[in-house]
Amino acid sequence: MVKFDADSIVPLYQQVADELTRAISAGVYRAGDQVPSTTEISREYQLNPATVLKGMNILVGNGLLEKRRGLGMFVTTGAPAQLHRELKQEFFAKQLPELVRAAQELGISRQELIDALMNQEQS
């Protein structure tokens, strides 16, 4: 994980949630793996334990993490697939339209874009 940014507009608990999500998505923690405890994360980054817990609970709410009483937090079985699905949706819903808009602003025609995409694929 990276250092948490104190003067970001993104609240710290959200940064914790984002970093954990990224770590699961990158395969640092796989389905069924235990993630570090609230105390471990709070010590490592010197973050308030309640902030860390709030961040982790976002993932519990999303179904990416599950609490096992007395044991800790674990990555759910479906988490990697779910994240992959979400990232794919996000690509089509956000990144692709952004790319198309950027191309339009530069006067790149649809055909030029498609050609470039095809060449990209071959390389």
């Binding site: 003067d7 507009i9 010590r43 010197q46 308030n48 902030t51």
Partner: protein
């Protein structure tokens, strides 16, 4: 309500009024920052809570019981401060033993771990310790006693950066082992900013800020742009501070609503606690000292 409740407390020393009317609540199992410019009475407030000073008026209670002259209540509160009560010819190990006897317990595990981490010589005499070593000795006492409310008045005095980092780590580890309340009065704000749940700022004898860290920071923003653009954007906001450079204006605003949308010619960013603290305590009326 459970926790420490400070109600309308005032304290003066002779003619000098230090605390005018202070009310605040300290809840169980939370980590607090107690901030304020030099000489605003942070130490006085902590000493009042711990019964080392007597308020001129007002009430301090713990779990609804008056804390004044109440040994049972005071046994649950531990204050670590600059003051040194230990005789110089005694050894560190004696200090640990006597602290345990006075405060009804001493976590040997915690103490042994910290002694090892900080490299403390428990056979050394108190008078032979440097400022930093004395601080470490007192911190070990503060974390090893079974108190539920640990008040730390400038706890990192004389500690170098590596030792400070180690100390913050110890606090979080101890919190994980046995959650309890820590109140940290410090001027090294940035070092503890991400660790604390809640922030108190004392100024002019009263509590100026009493807020959870996260909403406090999430509703404060820095806006940068041309003077005209920033002024237009901040019309409905509480501006704490502004700074101009040519036609460029930078503003720190508080109470910014979550749905606040800045015009495209104004850049918005978050504020760190240190910057916000300076903006909050640097307002008019600070010239009296």
């Amino acid at each position: 309500m459970s926790g420490i409740k400070v109600e309308h407390v005032s304290k003066h020393f002779g003619k000098k009024q230090v605390l005018r009317d202070v009310s605040l609540e300290i809840e169980p199992e939370r980590i607090y920052a107690l901030l304020g410019r030099n000489g605003v009475g942070k130490s006085t407030l902590l000493a009042l809570i711990n019964n080392r000073l007597i308020p001129n008026s007002g009430v301090i209670s713990l779990d609804g019981e008056n804390a004044f002259d109440n040994e049972q209540v005071q046994n649950r509160i531990y204050l670590m401060s600059d003051a040194n009560y230990f005789p110089g010819d005694r050894r560190v190990e004696w200090v640990f033993k006597i602290t345990g006897e006075l405060f009804g317990g001493f976590d040997k595990h915690t103490a042994a771990r910290m002694v090892q981490h900080f490299g403390v010589d428990t056979r050394a005499k108190v008078r032979s310790l440097s400022t930093g070593q004395k601080t470490i000795m007192k911190l070990i006492c503060a974390l090893a006693v079974p108190a539920d409310y640990v008040l730390l008045d400038e706890p990192v005095l004389g500690l170098d950066a590596a030792n400070r980092e180690m100390f913050y780590d110890e606090i979080l580890q101890e919190y994980g082992n046995r959650p309890r309340t820590f109140v940290i009065a410090t001027h090294l704000i940035e070092e503890i900013a991400q660790m604390v749940d809640h922030v108190f700022v004392i100024g002019h004898g009263v509590v100026q800020v009493d807020a959870d860290t996260e909403p406090l920071l999430n509703t404060a923003r820095i806006l940068t742009g041309s003077i005209q653009a920033v002024d237009a954007a901040t019309q409905r906001l509480t501006v704490l501070k502004h700074k101009d450079m040519g036609n460029m204006r930078t503003v720190i605003a508080a109470n910014v609503p979550a749905d606040f949308a800045a015009p495209s010619d104004v850049e918005v960013s978050g504020v760190d606690l240190q910057t916000l603290f300076i903006a909050l305590t640097g307002r008019e009326g600070d010239q009296h000292e």
